[in-house]
Structure formats: structure tokens, C-alpha cells
């Protein structure tokens, strides 16, 4: 009886198995890469806004404090996006006719709010609270990056859960003195390796078990 399969079939079957393993791994790699990419997480993506507001100009070169606009960052979960009135505090005096500011003036005139596009957007089942992070020595720049150098704001970090947990598991690595929270340019002194541990103790930052309890962020 003649052979049903030729000898070369052996090779083909091995190649097929190998190829499918490679293919599945490749697919997995694509999925993982994609889900970690800026395309999905929004990391590093600059978003179009109704007004070309430059943080680099206002917060950076002019040195306006973050809290001038983000008023509720110290007392509320939400840092607040300033009302049009805040813009008009200055822009009713300077650059009063700048064409770029027309949407602001229109909003103020017509009592119609501006619609900004969210840059840092956590899923709706995550409850992030600005006030507690600021109160415990997490600097603005730690999460948001050097906003004072961004002409248009983009998301510096992935904002994925693993990124959050990095700090929630070991806050000592990231906290800074409270008076430096709003200092964009703060850098940890290299000669004081125990600073983080000290601050965690001094600020009574909760232990990892509390900080990684699900209900701390999800509810």
C-alpha cells in the first residue's frame, strides 16, 4: 500500500505548528503593544482644544501658580477646569482683541461654556482624588509631567493601573515635601536617599495594603 502522506509532510506539519505558535505570539504581541500604546492609552498624544491654550506660556514663562486656575485641587477630587471668567480676569485687560481668544470672549459674551477635550481621562469606574494626592506630597509634575513646558498639554504617563500601583505600592519613591508639590521643576536631592521614607512617615501615608485595596479607587 502506498503511503498516504509523503515524507515531506513531516516537515510541513512541524513548520505549521511552529508557524502557528509564532503567529499566535505575534498576535498577542500586537494586542499587548497596541493596548500599551499611546493610541489606546492616550499617552503622549496631543489633543486639539477649542482654544490654543499654552501651559508653557502661562504656567512656565509667566509663572502663574497651578491653583490660580485649578482652584479646587486641594479640596476636591476634581482639580477644576477654570470658568471663562478666570480667563477674562486678565484677558479683559490684555490681548483684548487677539483673534485666538475670540472663543473665550464669545463664551463670556453669550454665557455659553467652552467645551474642552479631556486629556487625562480615567475610566468611569476609577475614582481618582486630586486633593489627597496633593495633601500627601505627590507633585503635579509627578503624574502630569512638565506641563510648564507643554505648549499644548498631552498625557505624560500611561495612566494604566500598573502605573498607579507603582506608586501605591511604594510611595516613598515618589513623594516630595509638601511645599514642593506645585513646583514643576522640583528634583529630589541626590544626597538624601532616606527622604522618601521620612516623608511617608511624616505625612502618615497609608501602608500598601490600604493603598492597594480595591475600594480605595474602585467603587
Amino acid at each position: 500500500m502506498s503511503q498516504v502522506f509523503r515524507r515531506s509532510t513531516n516537515i510541513w506539519s512541524r513548520v505549521t505548528i511552529l508557524a502557528s505558535v509564532v503567529f499566535v505570539s505575534f498576535l498577542a504581541w500586537i494586542v499587548v503593544t497596541l493596548s500599551w500604546s499611546g493610541y489606546v492609552t492616550g499617552q503622549g498624544v496631543t489633543v486639539d482644544q477649542p482654544v490654543q491654550f499654552s501651559h508653557a506660556h502661562h504656567a512656565g514663562s509667566m509663572g502663574i501658580d497651578c491653583r490660580y486656575c485649578h482652584t479646587s485641587v486641594e479640596e476636591s477630587p476634581f482639580a477644576n477646569i477654570p470658568p471663562t471668567k478666570t480667563c477674562m480676569n486678565c484677558h479683559s485687560q490684555i490681548w483684548t482683541n487677539a483673534p485666538i481668544l475670540e472663543p473665550i470672549r464669545a463664551s463670556f459674551r453669550e454665557n455659553r461654556p467652552l467645551e474642552w477635550t479631556r486629556v487625562h481621562d480615567l475610566p468611569d469606574f476609577v475614582y481618582f482624588n486630586h486633593s489627597i494626592h496633593v495633601a500627601k506630597g505627590v507633585g503635579c509634575a509627578t503624574c502630569h509631567g512638565r506641563v510648564d513646558r507643554m505648549p499644548l498639554v498631552y498625557q505624560e504617563n500611561s495612566l494604566q493601573m500598573s502605573w498607579c500601583l507603582e506608586c501605591h505600592r511604594n510611595p516613598a519613591k515618589y513623594v516630595r515635601p509638601k511645599d514642593q508639590v506645585f513646583n514643576m521643576a522640583y528634583e529630589r536631592p541626590s544626597d538624601d536617599p532616606g527622604l522618601g521614607e521620612r516623608l511617608v512617615k511624616e505625612y502618615k501615608i497609608a501602608g500598601a495594603r490600604q493603598l492597594t485595596s480595591c475600594s480605595t479607587c474602585h467603587r
Binding site: 476636591s76 477630587p77 476634581f78 474602585h218
Partner: protein, 1014 residues
């Protein structure tokens, strides 16, 4: 229903048998099925070809979606800041406004939580004397009515959309002709009004149109009680009870714990007194109050009583006479009545000045007179009962007022009828033929929240602004004027009563309700309106009208406006005086019919409120439908089973209702609940099935017998109706879930409660012990105080964005309530009388077990133990295996079998609590101890470097509870209230023999029975 099985089961019991339903008692096959299935009937969908196809369709859709959802990018979201941000508003932090949710014209004081201008949750106002922070189910659910998309949205003229301008033009023409006639053709019909500013407006209208008349109608009038109190006090008055001072309470068909706005404060006073009697240090037995309930329809008050006597409604008067000794105890339908009444009368006499007789609003005036005379002779007036000037503006008899109106309409004397809020076409006694007479009115205007039976019979329909959209004022039960302030601009084109009435007063035309109300109180401050003497809380006059207004808006009420109770001059003739509300004489033949408002949708006005519709009704736990209650023997006699549709024939009128056999219901009488069978209402309240359109029992109600009458015939139609009843859902098989003891037993041997169950030693566990460095949250629920009202369920639903699932899903055991109130009945050992029962209520939320069975079985770690001891439920991790709920002995986990949340309706979006995730299909959920409130308080405390104070975190259920039965706090703090309660000897854990170590524990129900009746 196998009655012989029930009887044999009862005969063989040792007197410690608890059961939730007659099905359980009879141990029917259907009941066994419920018991063994965690979520009944989901599997049977496979056998039903239609259901199966549906199921496969849903499954394939969900599989496809599961694949797709992994690849979706989060959509770009907008942030819309203010143009000019209000000063006091901090985005992300809620504000609370003191206002009121009026109920039947009476203000129920509340604080409403507002998130950036969206009212989301109603809380009680803890400082308000009328409620002390409690609420009722209607106040809690008011916020859902506010956002109801089915509300009347525009002005309608004969069903066509018009504007307010068109209406005003039409009205102007009409008023022009009426002016000449001094308004002889103008009639107003309102519900009860307590608002001082509206009172002034009506007075102004009557000045401008001296012949115009004002009528009032309320389907649940309090005429008899008020008439009797008026007679006793010598001026229009309401009786105010002081349960905190009463040692012995006898009720005569009164449901003071379950009905009306006064129940909030009464529940608190009653529960405080009861608790203090059990737990107070060195207290003697005399300090625990004792309640005797003599009642017809079983109520929550009767369930709470130490002794309950079931009598027919018509026998209550005789019982009252026997109690007062003015007549010998004659023959009663219930054989134990003479002994009961003698013991109660003796107990009353033994507690002169510290006892209280309460007559129910559904009893005629003679019973109230008897009760008042009893209180007078017992020396209770001035201590446990006081008479305060009535809070109503016009305390007329509702029925005669409505009769006058109908007569005038019939005589063609009414050119212009303005119906404000009332729905008489649906609720008026059927013999008045209101709808027929309404057709004779020249121009009928209705002002209502919804299109209803009345508005569709009127020419003009004006949309009413909801209380949370309105400026207004109203008086609370104790008389305190409560100013109503809006939380949101009217969602639709609604206007308030004040604004509508202003159209009739030239001087006020076009004024906003804010201006009208503020103007009234500015003048009241100056002593130019209402004759109020307003002083600030320290007794000093306010500096200016402005400071008064600010104070009122902040605190919610006008200080110094509580009705002054006065000791009246005794009126010996009280008991013999005329009755204003006639009652049909009891004639032989037929059954007795008892009319009651529905416990959850009241007179029908809440028919379109899904939360209230789905709230299991107290005692029966029936949702979505009304039933006719009958006693067990009557059911046996008529061969009726639960769900059989009967035709009710009464005075030539016919209605149909499904039967519910109610243990404890007097025999030979039938209780029917009004409010269902709405013909014109929103989508939720419109009956789905044809037969349900006949559930309207208002058509049986006649003006000579508003509350009960005899001559009812019931005829079995042969049809059955599916009742969605949660009584048998989530059962914990025969494991002594409630523990009870009498006061004597408990005092003699405080360990009696602990001995009723087995508590495994702490070492008996393989799981390593948890340690809690910071907080250790726990809850204590006092079964002695719980009145079973169900407000915790609604408060939880509102706080935690819990979906309404609908009748069909409830029937499959898929209701989503995180906290349920189980009712247990206990047979007292009287084998002849299965109606002789005790009833216990047990609210069951998640127990937050220390050794949680759910946590161990989740394959994806979606339910875990938090650092503060909560069993966290992580929706975003949950894949829907349901292992956790399978393993939960308390059956407190709820699964989203379908997409229950309404994601589509735009008006429901601002209703949701932004601090709680809105769950989607395929996700398990359960009580979280309101973790959002814990986190809020923890973050606040940490920001200020302090610990969370005791009482700072109050879960929604505990905050809403009028009886203060639920206490929450930190068990690591031995000084906390909850830790102290848990240290009491009557503390026990539900099913603690399973070694789950529940964090939520119960305080056993302690009763104080009279040894003479034991």
C-alpha cells in the same frame, strides 16, 4: 395552598417556628424549588422556546460585544466648565440644600444633595424637629419623580401643545367676565394646603372675587381625627403624640409607624423609648414601653406591637368602648378579644398619665372621640398627647367640600374650575360621579405633575413644577414652617402653585415664586403678614428680614413657627358629639371591605415611580401590583389561593384584584388597596396587562363609607394573576435568622440570645487572621427598633444607582436591592387561631464577613478583602461567574442578568450618584457599606491629619432610617456607638454558626408582653 398541611405543621411546632410565607409554612413543592435555587427560574428559560431563542440571541450578542469591547478605545470626553462659577460651589464636592418634600401638603423636611446643580439624593434634616433626620420612602423617591421623563412637559389645551402665554390670554378673558359676577363661577379645588404664602394668595383672590369658592379633596383625608381633636381642644387642632413619654400604648386601627409624615418622628420617639427600656443601665422593666394593637388590616404598627388583636374594622368602635369601660365587652369575631381588652384596660389604668390611646385615621369620628376621652380620663392630655392648632390652612371636611363642588358643577354654576394638584376623577368616591359632572364645567384647568385622569378631562393642562424645582413653603407636622427652595431650574415648562395663583391676583401677576415667597416672609418679619412671631434660635428677633431669609434657607425652617400645644379645656360631651364623617352602619350579610392607600404608591400619585413600584410592600413583599388581603379561614372557605383573581362586588360596582392570603388579617373581611389601575399615567404606572386595568378599587369606594363598609361579595373568576413577590426570595433555610426574647427572659438571663445559636471559636479557621491598623468598619442593626418600613431599601437604591428591573425580572428573583427587609412570622402557639402571630423585620444587607465565603471562590479576584475589612466588589474585574453569590449564605449578592440600567433616557443621567459606578450587564454587585462615603470621609480626615470621628460616615440606609435602627462606625474605636452596641448581650451574628464572622450584626428583638396575656 394546602391548609391542612399548614395546620398540621403549626400543631407540631414548638412555638419557635419562624416562617416568611404560607408557602414556607406548608412546605409546598414550589417553595422547595425557590429554596434550592439561588436565582429562581433562570434555567427554565431553556425549556421555553421563545425564551431560549431570546437567550441565545442575547448570548451571541454578548459574546460578540465581549470581543469588541476589548478593542474599543475610550471615547474622547468633554469637560464643560462654568462661564461664571458660583462662589460657594467646589466642583467635585456636593452641596446640600435644606428644603422639603411635601407629602399630602405637609412638609417632610429634607436635605438634598446636589452635584454641580444636579439633585441626586435626599437625606433627612437632622436638625429639624419634625423628623430628627429620618425620612420616609416617598421623600427618598421624590428625586426619581423629579427626573421622570413622563412628566407633563408643556401647557396643553385640549391635548394640543400651547404656551403659558396662550393660557394667560385665555384666562384673562375668562376673569374679565367673572369680575362682573364677583367671581361667582370660579371654583378652586386643591389638596391639603399648609403653605402660609398660598393661604395669603387665596385670601387675596377671595378679596378680588368674593363669590369664588375654594374646595379641598384628598383621597386619604384626616377628617375624623381632626374633627375629634378640634372638639377636644375647642379649636381646629391636630393631636400630637409623644411616644417618648408613653409607657403603655393602645392603638385603635392606627398605623402611626407606617403612614404619613408624622410617622417619621413617631418612629424615632417610639424606637428610642423602646431601646432605652431594654438597654438603659439600671433600668427597670417598667421603662420599656408596651404596645397593644387593636387593628383590622395588619400594619407595621401591629407588627411591632407586643400584643395584637385582629378585629374587623367595624368592631374597633366596640373595642374602644369596652376599653373605656363605657360598655361591656360584647361579642367579637375574635374570641380572645375580651381577655385582651381587659388586660389592656388594666394596663392603661396602671399607667395613668404615662399611657396613650391612638385612634387610626381610617376609623370614624366616634372612635377618635372615645380615644380622646380615654386619654383625657387617664390624664394623658398634656403629657403623652397634646393638641396643637392644625397646620392646615382650611381645616374643612374634605368630603363635604368635594360634595359641594360636585353639586355646584352639576347645577351648572361652575364656569371656571381650577384643579391644583388633585386628581379627583381618579380618586373621588364613585357615587359622586365626578368625571360626569366635570363635563358640565365651562372651563376646567388642571395643574399637575403628570397627565392624569383629571387633566385629560380638563381643557387646559398646566405642568406643575416639582418641589425640588420650586420656591414655596409648607408646614411640617409639628407646625414648623419649612421653606422649599429649588435645587434645579424647572426641567420642563412647569410652574408652581404660587405662580398659577398669581395669575388671578392683579398685584402679583407675573411674579416669580421666589419673589412671592420671599416677599411674604419679608412682610412676616415686619409683622405684616400671617401674625407670626419669629425669633432666632436664641430667642432674639432677627436683625433684618435678610438675615432671617438667609437663616431660613440655610437651616430649612422658620424658627418660632412650631404650633404651640395647649392644654385644652376638657370637653365631656366629646364622645357623644356629632360625627362629621358618616360611616355606613354595619349590616349583616356579605364580607366587610376595608379601603387603604397602597403602602408604596399611596393614593396612586406615585404610580409612575419605579423605585416605589418595585419596593416590596411591607409584610407581603409584593411588588408592582395591588392585592386584596384576606384571612386564612376566609380563603379556605372561598377556596382561594394566592394570585386567584376575584371579582369584588360592592354597592353595584365591580373591581377585580388578585388575592393575597394575609396571616393576621381578620376573617370575613377583605382589605383592598387604592392607587392601582391608573388609566392615564406614565409608562411605569400604566398596567401592562388588561386585567390590571380593573385593579382600580376607587370605583368601589362610596362617599358614605370611605374606609370600610359591609356587603362586599367576592366571586372567584377562575383566572389567576402572577404576583411578583419577593417574600420567598433569598431564603436562609430554617436557621433561626431572627432571635427574640421577652424582656423578662432577657433580664433574668442576658445570655439567652447568645445561646440561641452556636458561635464557633475564633481559632476555628484556616484563613489567617486579618489585622486592621486603621479602621475596622462594622454595622449594628437593632431588630427591637426596626419597624420594617423599607426606607433603607429606597435610600440605598438612590445612593448606589441601583436599577429597577421590572415585574417580570422580580418574578425571576432578580431584584437588585442591596438591602432587603425580611419579614418573619412566628406562630404564638394558639393552635386554634393561625392569625395569632408575632411579626419580625430583619433588614439584610451584605454582612461584610471576616471569613467571607464569596472572596474565596472568585476566580478573577473581583471580590477581595480591604484593609478596613470590607468585602470589596470590583465591577471592572467581575466576569460574571456568579460563584460568589452561589457561595453566599446570606444571599445578598445581586447579578445584572440583563442590562437593567437605563443608559438611553437623558433625563435619568443627572439622577445618578456620580460617586458610584453605574453597573452594566454581566456584573455582580452588592452592598458596599457606602464605600464612597467612607472614602470621602477618610480623605477629608487625612487631609486634616485627624481620624474619622464617630458618626462622620453614615451609610444611606442608616441616614434614612427614621427609627435609628442602623448604626455604623469604627469597631477599632471602643468608644464608638456601634462598638458599644455590639458589646450588648443581645448582639448576635446572622448564621454565625457558619463561622463567616459577619461584620454586620443584629441586636435581638426584645418584646415586652403582658404576663397576663402570655
Amino acid at each position: 395552598m394546602d391548609f391542612s398541611a399548614i395546620r398540621s405543621r403549626l400543631a407540631g411546632s414548638d412555638g419557635r417556628l419562624y416562617w416568611r410565607s404560607l408557602g414556607e409554612l406548608a412546605d409546598t413543592p414550589a417553595f422547595r424549588e425557590y429554596l434550592h435555587r439561588e436565582f429562581p427560574e433562570q434555567a427554565s428559560e431553556w425549556n421555553d422556546p421563545k425564551g431560549r431563542r431570546e437567550f441565545l440571541k442575547l448570548m451571541s450578542a454578548s459574546l460578540a460585544l465581549a470581543g469588541v469591547s476589548a478593542c474599543t478605545k475610550q471615547p474622547a470626553e468633554k469637560i464643560v466648565p462654568y462661564v461664571r462659577q458660583p462662589e460657594e460651589l467646589v466642583p467635585g464636592r456636593p452641596l446640600f440644600f435644606a428644603t422639603a418634600a411635601p407629602f399630602g401638603g405637609i412638609a417632610v423636611p429634607v436635605l438634598v444633595e446636589s452635584h454641580e446643580g444636579h439633585p441626586t439624593k435626599v437625606e433627612g434634616n437632622p436638625q429639624h424637629p419634625a423628623s430628627l433626620g429620618g425620612t420616609d420612602i416617598f421623600a427618598q423617591a421624590a428625586v426619581l419623580t423629579l427626573y421622570d421623563p413622563d412628566r407633563l412637559q408643556t401647557v396643553l389645551y385640549r391635548g394640543e401643545v400651547r404656551g403659558w402665554g396662550d393660557f394667560l390670554t385665555a384666562l384673562k378673558g375668562m376673569l374679565g367676565t367673572q369680575k362682573a359676577k364677583q367671581g361667582a363661577g370660579i371654583r378652586f379645588l386643591t389638596e391639603t394646603i399648609t403653605s402660609p404664602s398660598v393661604a395669603e394668595q387665596i385670601a387675596l383672590i377671595q378679596q378680588a372675587y368674593p363669590q369664588a369658592k375654594w374646595h379641598q379633596w384628598d383621597p386619604i383625608p384626616r377628617d375624623a381625627a381632626r374633627a375629634a381633636a378640634t372638639e377636644s381642644a375647642g379649636r381646629p387642632s391636630d393631636a400630637i403624640y409623644h411616644f417618648d413619654k408613653a409607657d403603655v400604648i393602645v392603638t385603635l386601627d392606627a398605623d402611626f409607624l407606617g403612614c404619613g409624615p408624622a410617622a417619621i418622628r413617631y418612629s424615632r420617639d417610639f424606637a428610642d423609648r423602646r431601646r432605652a427600656g431594654v438597654d438603659a443601665e439600671g433600668a427597670d422593666a417598667a421603662t420599656m414601653n408596651r404596645m397593644y394593637a387593636i387593628e383590622s388590616t395588619p400594619t407595621l404598627t401591629g407588627a411591632k406591637a407586643d400584643h395584637r388583636l385582629a378585629l374587623r374594622a367595624s368592631e374597633i368602635e366596640a373595642a374602644a368602648r369596652a376599653l373605656s369601660g363605657s360598655a361591656p365587652a360584647g361579642s367579637f369575631s375574635n374570641g380572645s378579644a375580651p381577655k385582651f381588652l381587659a388586660a389592656a384596660a388594666k394596663d392603661l389604668q396602671a399607667h395613668r398619665g404615662r399611657s396613650l390611646v391612638v385612634a387610626g385615621e381610617y376609623q370614624p369620628a366616634p372612635v377618635h372621640h372615645l380615644a380622646n376621652a380615654l386619654n383625657e380620663s387617664l390624664g394623658n392630655v398634656g403629657t403623652t398627647v397634646t393638641y396643637a392648632p392644625t397646620v392646615e390652612i382650611n381645616p374643612t371636611d374634605r368630603l363635604s367640600s368635594l360634595r359641594d363642588l360636585v353639586r355646584a358643577m352639576d347645577g351648572g354654576q361652575v364656569d371656571l374650575l381650577v384643579v391644583l394638584g388633585a386628581n379627583p376623577v381618579f380618586t373621588a368616591p364613585s357615587d359622586l360621579k365626578f368625571q360626569e359632572k366635570l363635563a358640565k364645567v365651562g372651563l376646567a384647568i388642571s395643574h399637575s405633575l403628570y397627565s392624569d385622569e383629571t387633566s385629560t378631562n380638563c381643557h387646559w393642562n398646566l405642568p406643575e413644577a416639582h418641589a425640588f424645582e420650586s420656591w414655596s413653603d409648607a408646614r411640617a407636622v409639628d407646625g414648623t414652617v419649612t421653606v422649599i427652595q429649588p435645587l434645579i431650574a424647572p426641567l420642563y415648562d412647569g410652574r408652581t402653585v404660587q405662580e398659577v395663583l398669581a395669575c388671578f391676583v392683579d398685584a402679583q401677576n407675573g411674579k416669580s415664586a421666589h419673589d412671592l415667597v420671599k416677599d411674604y416672609w419679608t412682610r412676616a418679619y415686619a409683622g405684616k403678614a400671617g401674625g407670626w412671631t419669629i425669633t432666632d434660635p436664641t430667642g432674639q428677633p432677627f436683625k433684618s428680614a435678610d438675615s432671617l431669609w438667609k437663616h431660613v434657607l440655610h437651616d430649612g425652617w422658620v424658627p418660632g413657627t412650631a404650633a404651640n400645644s395647649q392644654r385644652p379645656t376638657p370637653n365631656a360631651q366629646g364622645a357623644q358629639s356629632s360625627t362629621s364623617s358618616p360611616q355606613a352602619p354595619t349590616s349583616s350579610g356579605g364580607l366587610e371591605i376595608i379601603f387603604r392607600p397602597d403602602p408604596t404608591i399611596w393614593d396612586g400619585r406615585f404610580a409612575n415611580n419605579g423605585w416605589l413600584q418595585e419596593l416590596p410592600k411591607p409584610l407581603t413583599k409584593i411588588t408592582w401590583d395591588p392585592t386584596a388581603w384576606i384571612g386564612m379561614k376566609t380563603a379556605e372557605q372561598y377556596r382561594l389561593r394566592d394570585g386567584d383573581i376575584v371579582e369584588l362586588r360592592y354597592r353595584g360596582n365591580v373591581a377585580k384584584l388578585p388575592i393575597a392570603i394575609m396571616p393576621g388579617h381578620p376573617e370575613a373581611s377583605v382589605t383592598v388597596f387604592m392607587g392601582y389601575g391608573r388609566k392615564v399615567t406614565g409608562r411605569v404606572g400604566t398596567p401592562a396587562e388588561d386585567v390590571a386595568k380593573d385593579f382600580d378599587v376607587y370605583r368601589l369606594r362610596t362617599s358614605d363609607a370611605l374606609w370600610f363598609g359591609s356587603g362586599l361579595e367576592i366571586v372567584k373568576t377562575g383566572g389567576t394573576y402572577v404576583i411578583a413577590r419577593t417574600q420567598e426570595h433569598h431564603l436562609m433555610e430554617n436557621r433561626n435568622p431572627v432571635r427574640i426574647a421577652s424582656l423578662d427572659e432577657y433580664r433574668k438571663d442576658p445570655d439567652v440570645i447568645a445561646r440561641m445559636g452556636e458561635k464557633p471559636p475564633k481559632t476555628l479557621t484556616m484563613i489567617p487572621e486579618w489585622t486592621y491598623d486603621s479602621y475596622k468598619w462594622g454595622m449594628s442593626i437593632d431588630l427591637t427598633s426596626c419597624t420594617g418600613c423599607g426606607v433603607c431599601t429606597i435610600a440605598c437604591q438612590s445612593e448606589n444607582n441601583i436599577a429597577v428591573v421590572g415585574k417580570d425580572q422580580v418574578n425571576r428573583g432578580r431584584e437588585m436591592h442591596w438591602i432587603r427587609v425580611d419579614h418573619y412570622f412566628k406562630f404564638k402557639g394558639n393552635e386554634e387561631d393561625a392569625n395569632d402571630l408575632e411579626t419580625y423585620h430583619q433588614p439584610v444587607p451584605c454582612m461584610q464577613c471576616e471569613n467571607a465565603p464569596c472572596e474565596l471562590v472568585c476566580p478573577v479576584g473581583a471580590t477581595t478583602h480591604s484593609a478596613e475589612g470590607l468585602n470589596d466588589m470590583v465591577y471592572n474585574r467581575c466576569v460574571g461567574t456568579r460563584y460568589c453569590s452561589n457561595n453566599c449564605p446570606y444571599k445578598v449578592r445581586r447579578f445584572n442578568f440583563l442590562l437593567y440600567q437605563d443608559w438611553e433616557t437623558p433625563s435619568l443621567e443627572p439622577l445618578r450618584n456620580p460617586d458610584v459606578t453605574v453597573r452594566s450587564r454581566g456584573v455582580m454587585e452588592k452592598c458596599t457599606y457606602c464605600v464612597q462615603r467612607i472614602n470621602y470621609a477618610r480623605i477629608d480626615a487625612k487631609r486634616h491629619d485627624r481620624r474619622i470621628a464617630d458618626g462622620e460616615v453614615v451609610p444611606a440606609c442608616a441616614a434614612a432610617c427614621p427609627a435609628d435602627a442602623i448604626v455604623f462606625g469604627d469597631l477599632n474605636d471602643p468608644a464608638s456607638r456601634v462598638a458599644k452596641l455590639k458589646a450588648l448581650e443581645r448582639d448576635y451574628g446572622l448564621l454565625e454558626e457558619l463561622n463567616t464572622r459577619p461584620r454586620t450584626t443584629y441586636l435581638a428583638a426584645i418584646r415586652n408582653p403582658n404576663p397576663e396575656l402570655a
